[in-house]
Amino acid sequence: MTDILAAFAWVFDPTNWAGPGGIPVRLGEHVWYSLLTLILAAVIALPIGFAIGHTGRFRGLAVGISGALRAIPTLGLVVYLALITLNLSIIPPLIALTILAIPPVLAGAYSGLESVDRRTIDAARAMGMTELQILFKVELPLSLPLIIGGLRSAALQVVATWTVAAILPVGGLGRYLFDGLAVQKYDEMLGGSILVIALALVTDGVFAIVQRLVVPRGVAAGKVQDVRTKDPWRPLGPSVPNHPLGTSL
């Protein structure tokens, strides 16, 4: 417990906020690296995910490759890439973490597209839209929540795992973990961990808000209520369901 208190004391100590190794600098580096990774992963995984979701083909292959990519241990990959390229910049961890981030983004993309009701797509096709128009005007807006969900899950992973890259001379919050551990400054190590957790929470929160905001108006959000949920008016008589017309339209 005292360790955790010491960690908080470390976080709020003004001397740790100044200088080139200060908290704002490291935080900025960490956010920058994570953003870069997420953008790279999105650029690679989103088009592929859309193609898979739209055409419905190669889904099994995508699931298999995603699984294999997820299985790669990040620390091992960072070490290996650094060893064979003898490059000690952010490039090896960037590659390793992008590979790590691709599976959730890919899964979000194709499951998002798959969740769109086929009747809607049929209707769009019947109206004469081209495949690309269907993709951009119908499928994407309707599947945005799940796509953002995939990006959210990837963002969380990326923010938490960039700490591993500090085995190399790169910046980011992982520096506090490795440097603190090296000199037994546990308050620094735990303080860095607290900062990572805080950053992850903020990231998760931002994505959660975005996820809620991108649901297009007009999409019926109806869900049949489970009658057993505690209803304060129950004793007075049968409860009236919220959406008498149900969900499927």
Partner: protein
């Protein structure tokens, strides 16, 4: 329909249970735990850090002790100093090969001793009660500042005092703790008046640090003196006329309860035989083309230096 559903669930549970039981069984005496000794003779659990030299030393201690009737179990590749010292303190291991200077630094951050004898004496006083160090070997594996041959020739730098001749900014590739070690960044400044920045590479003078030195990412690198890469790459180890860098003699750190007379005798004889040249050779074979494993290397060394109590 009912019966087959029950059958399905039963089969699933059985499969999962079998898998758990199988893994629990196979973990029994395997890599997870040591083999507890049952006889009344001495028994010692020896640990090592996560690098080749430490494992080789662990194997040498282990095989020498076993040859003299001590029961030994091993816990190799534990990790960093604070992890394995915690293991020593909670009894998970009893003995570990250590380096005098850094061990002293760990227990006494304000220590200033640098010569072999001073460090050894101070160490005896700084250790927590219940633990002791046996005789130290002449063999050392100390930190050292290295530069490439080209750098040395360009600036005429052969020792740390020559560094003041260099006009370009200096970076040092070393483990993160170098920022605070008395012979690290602060020591360079106070003893030699050299301001350098640290590029933290957490491989303890390994291939990444060597690569950084070779391709000019850093001008100086902290590579341990028994690392074959120094000779292999023609690096120049800078001399230390002001004795900034603490001695790092190989010394066995042991739980006093396990330091029986047999154990002490055997280990002291090992320490008497071990030389720095031995370490360089052993590391060379471990890291070179043959990639010989520590246990085989220990066997070879003991064949050349038989230890009898």
């Amino acid at each position: 329909m009912f019966a087959s559903k029950r059958g399905r669930i039963a089969a699933g549970v059985l499969a999962a249970g079998a898998l758990l039981a199988l893994s629990a069984c196979s973990s029994g005496g395997g890599a997870l735990g040591g083999n507890p000794s049952t006889s009344s003779s001495d028994s010692v659990t020896i640990g090592s850090a996560a690098f080749g030299e430490s494992e080789i030393l662990m194997q040498i201690y282990a095989q020498a002790l076993e040859a003299n009737g001590v029961k030994v179990s091993l816990k190799p590749s534990i990790g960093q100093r604070d992890v394995y010292l915690k293991a020593l303190q909670d009894g998970s291991i009893d003995l570990i090969p250590e380096y005098s200077g850094n061990l002293l630094q760990f227990y006494d951050k304000s220590a200033t001793a640098t010569s072999s004898d001073e460090v050894y004496t101070a160490l005896g006083k700084a250790l927590p009660s219940g633990f002791e160090v046996l005789d130290q070997a002449k063999a050392q594996d100390a930190d050292s500042y290295n530069v490439t041959k080209e750098f040395s020739e360009k600036w005429g730098v052969k020792s740390l005092s020559d560094l003041s001749k260099v006009t370009e900014p200096l970076t040092v590739g070393a483990n993160p703790e170098f920022q605070e070690r008395p012979y690290g960044i602060p020591g360079l400044k106070s003893a030699y008046g050299v301001t350098a920045t640290l590029k933290p590479i957490s491989d303890s003078g390994g291939p990444l640090t060597v690569a950084a030195l070779k391709n000019g990412d850093v001008q100086l690198a902290d590579i341990y003196t028994t690392t074959p890469a120094i000779k292999d790459n023609g690096f120049v180890t800078l001399e230390d006329p002001k004795s900034l860098i603490a001695a790092q003699n190989i010394v066995p750190l042991i739980n006093s309860k396990k330091a029986s007379s047999t154990v002490k005798d055997v280990l002291n004889k090992v320490s008497a035989e071990l030389t720095t040249a031995d370490l360089i050779d052993l590391n060379g074979e471990n890291q070179g083309a043959s990639k010989t494993q520590p246990d085989a290397l220990a066997k070879e060394w003991l064949a050349k230096h038989p230890i009898k109590k």
